[in-house]
């Protein structure tokens, strides 16, 4: 069973449901979310591999950070 981060998935779901594409998230966009330091850093960097390691759902990673994928 893969790791699941509820805070990561919660913020990514909110963005995905608005059909927004991001390269990275800003501090302002993350304000009010209960993310830990590693999660904030990965979102701020748009680090899709790290987000997967930290427990973000891959469908949400793909939806939000689509432009980060080479394919």
């Amino acid at each position: 069973m893969s790791k699941i981060s509820y805070p990561l998935n919660k913020i990514l779901t909110a963005i995905a449901r608005r059909h927004l594409l991001k390269d990275a998230l800003t501090d302002e966009e993350m304000a009010g979310h209960e993310l830990d330091d590693a999660e904030r850093a990965a979102l701020k960097a748009g680090d899709i591999a790290r987000l997967y390691e930290l427990g973000a759902n891959p469908y949400l990673i793909r939806r939000v950070f689509r432009r980060r994928f080479t394919i």
Binding site: K10, T13, I48, Y59, F69, I71
Partner: protein, 277 residues
């Protein structure tokens, strides 16, 4: 007894309609031809309802509330919504639902021990929008949806999906004889989406699945574990649960593969299959 007049299985992927330009023309044309032939055969059966085994992609059911199985009671479905339409490059449209029929399915399931959740509002992503773009461009036949969680583990087991599908098949046959019901399952085949292996496709896995479908064998598919599917078919391969449910609804029926193309540019092993007695 109502008649199951048709059954079809297809892949779904937003790039099938969203980026036809990036695929190899010969692969795209063969797959589109498969969709068109499915449409022709489906229309010829004159269904008055499509029951669709599909899965969400966290558009509707996210980590605050994740049903294993959910019956759509929506009066209409965004298939796609304006937002989704941009990515899938199709016009936004509404497809009519059939809330009364869906409620009967829901109540029947709960009475039989299939603990469906239900939803009055569903925004379709590619699970409905892309297959229906090809299969029902007129959008003139109402749909009832049965959503299975294939995208946010832990997932219902393939075995449980077989049981759910068998219930749906039995329920359809218990309906009044005047009803003409078609079944459609969408999803798969192998694809890795959003993971470090994004873009991988495993044609060997896909052919094994299709071989079972052609022989009408649901049991070997129902015996697969989540880990086996993940390893061989990727996280997107988990969507074969929708295929398993459909096959279980029509025991003894066999698949005829109209098209199979591992389309690297669409990051999906894509198939269209007609399922018949």
């Amino acid at each position: 007894m109502a008649e199951i007049v048709a059954a079809a299985l297809t892949s779904h992927a937003p790039l099938i309609t969203g980026r036809p330009d990036v695929s190899k023309p010969e692969q795209r044309d063969r797959l589109y031809a498969g969709f068109h032939e499915l449409r022709r055969r489906l229309a010829a059966t004159r269904p008055d309802l499509l029951v669709m085994f599909v899965n969400d992609h966290l558009q509707n059911f996210a980590y605050d509330n994740l049903p294993a199985f959910c019956v759509g009671l929506a009066a209409s479905y965004d298939a796609p919504s304006e937002g989704g339409a941009k990515l899938m490059r199709m016009a936004p449209r509404k497809i009519g639902g059939h809330p009364a029929w869906a409620m009967a399915l829901l109540e029947g399931g709960l009475a039989a021990g299939i603990d469906f959740a239900y939803s009055y509002e569903i925004e379709s992503w590619d699970e409905l929008s892309v297959p229906l773009h090809f299969l029902m461009p007129e959008g003139d036949v109402p749909i009832v949806t049965v959503y299975t969680n294939c995208a946010a583990p832990p997932l219902p087991t393939p075995r449980r999906c077989r049981e759910m599908g068998a219930f749906v098949g039995g329920f359809v046959r218990s309906r009044p004889p005047r009803e003409r019901i078609a079944l459609v399952g969408t999803g798969g085949l192998s694809h890795w989406v959003g993971t470090p292996e994004t873009g991988r496709i495993n044609p060997d896995f896909d052919r094994r699945v299709l071989d079972h479908v052609v022989r009408g064998e649901v049991e070997p598919l129902a015996r697969l574990t989540r880990d086996e599917i993940e390893r061989e078919g990727g996280n997107g391969g988990q969507e074969i649960r929708n295929w398993i449910a459909l096959l279980a609804a029509v025991p003894g029926w066999r698949g005829e593969v109209l098209a199979y193309e591992p389309v690297a540019e669409w990051i999906t092993g894509c198939a269209t299959v007609w399922v018949h007695p």
